[in-house]
Amino acid sequence: MLNQGLTEISRALTRGDYTSAELTAAYLERIEQHNSGLNAYITITGEQALSQANAADALRASGNAGPFTGVPLAHKDIFCTTGIRTSCGSRMLDNFIAPYNATVVEKFNQAGAVMLGKTNMDEFAMGSSNETSWYGPVRNPWNRELVPGGSSGGSAAAVAAHLCPAATATDTGGSIRQPASFCGLTGIKPTYGRVSRWGMIAFASSLDQAGVLTRSAEDAALMMNVMSGFDPKDSTSVELPVPDYLADIDKPLQGLRIGLPSQHFAEGLGKDVELQIRAALAEFEKMGATLKEISLDNSHLSVSAYYVIAPAEASANLSRYDGVRYGYRCNNPVDLEDLYKRSRAEGFGAEVKRRIMVGTYALSAGYYDAYYKKAQQIRRLIKEDFMRAFAEVDVIMGPTSPHTAFALGSKTKDPVKMYLEDIYTIAVNLAGLPGMSIPAGMVDGLPVGLQIVGRDFDETRLLNIAHRFQQATDWHTRTPGV
C-alpha cells in the first residue's frame, strides 16, 4: 500500500482495503526506518497522525467520509501548524510552536487528511539544493550523494522515497519544480493568488506560492481541489471560483499549441537532458499537439531581477526575527543592539544572511533605482514576454532544470552558480504564472523534469496535459530503490 498514490489510497480507503490507521502506522514505520538516511522530515508527528487516522476511520464508519478522509500526507515545515513546531528550516525558529494553522494546513485538516510530519527545507526556503537547512541537508533517494533540489527538498525526498504519498511545498523561484525534476515527481506551483499564503512563512511575498509534490498529475489535482481558493485573511489571494481540477483531466490534447522558448533550449542545457525533453515533446505531438518555437526575450535577465526582488522582500520579511517576541535569542545580550545583532547572526545561516544583505543593499539610499526599480521594470518586460507568447500558444514547455540532480556540496561555495540552477523556473514566479514539472525521462538513472507553464489560473489545463502524458508514458511511475 505504500506504493500507492493519493488517488489509489483514496479509493482503497473507500473500498475498505485497509484503514487509515493501518496505512498511517505503515508510513510511520517506513519513516522510522528510512528517514535518518534521507533527512526528509524535520518533525515526525506520529502520535497526532495516529489520532487523526483513528478519527478519520471513525468518520468513515459513520458514513461521512470525503475523498481525503484518512489520507496521509506531509507538510513542508514552512506551513504553521498549531501546537507542532514550525521551524522553516532555521535555528531561528527551532523552538517556535505556532498557535495557529496555515490556511493550507487547515484546509487539509478540514478535509480529514492525516499529517505524518513536517518536511525539511532550505532555511526560509532560500536555496536550490536543500543544503541550507539548520537540520542538515536532505539526500536524494535516487542517489544519496546527490541533492534532492530545493527548497522543498524534504517534501520531494519524502514523496520519492515513499515516506508519504504526497506533500505540500512552496515555490518562490522554482522550489517545487526543481525538486520535482530532481526526484522524479509531479510538482505544481499554482498561479500567484490561487492558494492562500496565510500561515505560510514568507520568503518573498510577491513570489511565494504554495503547491504540491505528488506521484501523478491526478494526485496533484486531488490536492489542488482541497487547498485552492480565496482566503479573506490573505489580501493577495484571488477571489475566483475554484474549478474541479479532476473534471477535465482526461480531455484529449488534440490541437494543443505548445510553445518552446528558444532561450530554454540554448547553451547551458545538458545534451542528454535535451534529448529526453525532445522525446517527451514528440510524445505530445503524437497526441495531436503542435510545437512552435517562441522567444522569451528577457528570460536571461530573470535570475538577475529575481535576486534583487526576492532578497529585497526577504530582507524586510525577516526583520521580525529579532529575538524579542518569539524564536531564537542570543545569550546575555549587553544591550538592544547586541540582542538584535547576535540573535540574528546566530539564528540565521549564511545563505539567509547573504540574501538579507543583498536585499538591504538593493533597497538602501542611492541604490534603489539602479537595483530595485530596475528589477521591477525587468519584471514587467518578463511578464510581457509571456503575454506575447500566450497570444500564440496555449502552454510553454521546456526543461525544468538544465541537468539532473547534482552532487551534495558541489555548488555551495559559489552562490551565483547555485542561483543559476533556477534559470528556467524563476521567470514564471516573476510573472505569477502557474508552472508544473513532470517526470519526462531518465539520464544515467536520474529523473529529468519537463516544465509546463500556463496562462494565469489555467491549472486545469496544466494538470490535464500532465495527466494525458502520464497516461501515455510511465516515467512518473519510476521509483528509486530505497
Partner: protein, 477 residues
C-alpha cells in the same frame, strides 16, 4: 536683525476605528498590556494584513473636508527600521501614493485676520507599540496594544510663521477631526501627536534655513512653547555666527528646552518599498461621493451660517462653530428660545465656565439645551432679571429643577406691579431724607444709592427698568 520662523507640522491622528488598521484586534485605550495584540500585531510568522475599510473611509473623509485631491490609487509601502515597539521591523505606511493629496486649512489669527495653510498630504500608517522604561531596572518592557492602531499622518506645508499660528493650525485640525468623527483627538492619551519642523531665516530671505524636527509634542501649550524656545535657540546660534544642524530634537517640558536625540540619527535609511502583502487601494467615484454626502457641515461653513442666520458677530460665530457639540447645543437653545444673541452669550459665558469648572464636556452638561432655553425665555419675558438668572442657573446646575420650577420655589419672580414698586420706593425715600436733599441739590450720583436700596428691599426682584422710571418721576417732584 529681524528673524522669521518657518514651521511645518506633521500631525499623527489615531483614527477612531474599533479594530486595527490591518488586524481584528481592538484599539481601545487603556487595556492591560499586550491584551489587545494578536498574532498579526506581534508579527508572528506567516500572518498577513488586510486593510480596515473604515480607516480608509475616515482618511477620505478628512481629505474631502480639506478640499484635497483623493488618491484614486493609493499604495502601501514598508518603512524599515528596528525598534522593539515595531514588531515586524517595518512600519506599513504610504510614501509615493498617499490616500490624501494637496489640500488646505483656513486658520483664524488673534488680530481677526485669517490665513490659508497648505496641507501637503495625509497618509495612512500603523502606530507603534509602547516601550516602558520605568517598570524594570535593567530592562525595557514592551506593550504592543497600540501597535497597528490606524494613524493618519497629516503633513502641512512650511507655511506657518509663528508659534501662535502653529497652535491655531493645530486647534483647527483638532476641531476638524472631531467634527468628522474620525478621531477622539485626545492629546493626553496620544490620539493626536505633533512633530514640528522648525527653521529660522532673516525677514526677506527666500531660502529656508536648516530645520530641526521636534518630536512628539503632546499639548497645544507645549507646541507653542517648544517652537518658541527652539526658534530662539536657533536665532541665538546664528547670531553667534554658528550653524544649525539638521537633526531630531526632543522637547522637555519640565526644563522648557529642546535637546538633541542623536541616537535616532544613526544611519537612518528606511529603505521604503512597496508592501507586497497588500495590493493597491483603488477608490472609485461612488465611494468618494458616498462619503462626501455623509460629511457634516464643517466649522467654516457653519460659522458663516451662524453669522447670517443668527446675526452673530464673526468672533461669536467662529468660537461656537469650532466645536461641533457646542455648535449643536447653541443652535438647539437659539431655536428654542428665539434669541440667538442671548443664547450665544449664555453658551459661551456661564455655561462654558461651569463646564470648565466641572471639567466635563457640553454633551455631559446637567443643564440641557431645552433647560437653558427655558431660562433665557424667562429673561426675555421679564419674569427675571439677568442678574437673578445667574442665581437660577446655579440652581439648575445643582439639579434643583427647571428655570420655572426654581423661580417659583424660590419666589424669584420679578416684581413688575407698579403699585408694589411705588410702595417700596416711597418707603426708601421716606427713610433717606438726607440723600433726597443731596440729590435735589444737584448731586445726581446719589441716584444709584436709591436704586440699590430699592433692589435690596425687593430682594432683587423689582424690575430694574420700572424702578428707574418711578424713582426719576418721584425725585423729579
Amino acid at each position: 536683525m529681524a528673524w522669521e520662523t518657518v514651521i511645518g507640522l506633521e500631525v499623527h491622528v489615531q483614527l477612531a476605528t474599533a479594530s486595527k488598521l490591518f488586524s481584528g484586534s481592538s484599539t481601545r485605550f487603556g487595556a492591560e498590556p499586550n491584551t489587545q495584540a494578536n498574532i498579526f500585531d506581534l508579527a508572528l510568522p506567516g500572518t498577513l494584513p488586510v486593510l480596515n475599510g473604515e480607516a480608509l473611509r475616515m482618511a477620505v473623509r478628512f481629505g474631502l473636508a480639506i478640499g484635497a485631491e483623493i488618491g484614486r490609487t493609493s499604495v502601501f509601502d514598508r518603512k524599515n527600521y528596528f525598534y522593539p515597539d515595531l514588531p515586524k521591523g517595518y512600519q506599513t505606511s504610504q510614501l509615493e501614493f498617499p490616500v490624501v493629496g494637496k489640500g488646505s486649512l483656513v486658520i483664524a489669527l488673534e488680530d481677526g485676520s485669517t490665513r490659508t495653510i497648505g496641507i501637503t498630504r495625509a497618509h495612512m500608517e500603523e502606530d507603534a507599540g509602547k516601550s516602558l522604561h520605568e517598570e524594570f531596572t535593567k530592562e525595557t518592557g514592551i506593550d504592543l496594544n497600540r501597535a497597528g492602531t490606524p494613524l493618519l499622518e497629516i503633513v502641512s506645508e512650511p507655511e506657518l510663521r509663528t508659534a501662535k499660528e502653529a497652535v491655531a493650525y493645530l486647534k483647527k485640525l483638532h476641531s476638524l477631526i472631531l467634527y468628522l468623527g474620525i478621531s477622539d483627538g485626545n492629546m493626553a492619551q496620544g490620539s493626536m501627536r505633533c512633530d514640528a519642523n522648525v527653521s529660522v531665516r532673516q525677514v526677506g530671505d527666500t531660502e529656508f534655513g536648516t530645520r530641526t524636527e521636534i518630536k512628539n509634542i503632546n499639548s497645544f501649550r507645549f507646541v507653542e512653547k517648544a517652537i518658541t524656545i527652539e526658534a530662539q535657540r536657533q536665532i541665538e546660534i546664528l547670531e553667534d555666527g554658528g550653524r544649525i544642524i539638521q537633526e531630531t530634537r526632543l522637547y522637555d517640558s519640565d526644563k522648557n528646552e529642546t535637546r538633541s536625540m542623536r541616537s535616532k540619527e544613526v544611519a537612518n535609511d528606511y529603505r521604503y518599498f512597496r508592501e507586497p502583502d497588500l495590493l493597491p487601494v483603488v477608490i472609485d467615484e461612488a465611494f468618494i461621493e458616498e462619503i462626501r454626502a455623509s460629511l457634516p457641515e464643517l466649522p467654516d461653513v457653519k460659522a458663516l451660517r451662524f453669522q447670517s442666520d443668527y446675526s452673530l458677530s464673526e468672533y461669536d460665530a467662529t468660537v461656537l462653530a469650532a466645536d461641533r457639540d457646542t455648535a449643536d447645543f447653541f443652535e438647539a437653545v437659539a431655536k428654542d428660545c428665539e434669541d440667538a444673541k442671548l443664547s450665544a452669550n449664555w453658551v459661551m459665558g456661564d455655561l462654558q465656565a461651569a463646564l470648565n469648572k466641572l471639567e466635563i464636556s457640553i454633551t455631559a452638561s446637567t443643564v440641557s439645551s431645552a433647560a437653558l432655553a427655558g431660562l433665557i425665555k424667562r429673561i426675555k419675558d421679564n419674569t427675571i432679571s439677568s442678574k437673578i438668572a445667574k442665581t437660577v442657573f446655579e440652581a439648575m446646575l445643582n439639579g434643583e429643577g427647571t428655570a420655572d420650577e426654581i423661580i417659583a420655589a424660590k419666589g424669584l419672580k420679578q416684581v413688575t406691579d407698579t403699585g408694589a414698586i411705588e410702595k417700596i420706593i416711597d418707603s426708601v425715600l421716606a427713610n433717606s431724607q438726607a440723600q433726597v436733599e443731596q440729590y435735589r441739590s444737584g448731586q445726581e450720583k446719589v441716584f444709584g444709592y436709591f436704586v440699590g436700596q430699592v433692589m435690596k428691599e425687593s430682594r432683587g426682584k423689582a424690575n430694574p427698568a420700572q424702578v428707574n422710571e418711578i424713582l426719576k418721576r418721584k425725585l423729579g417732584n
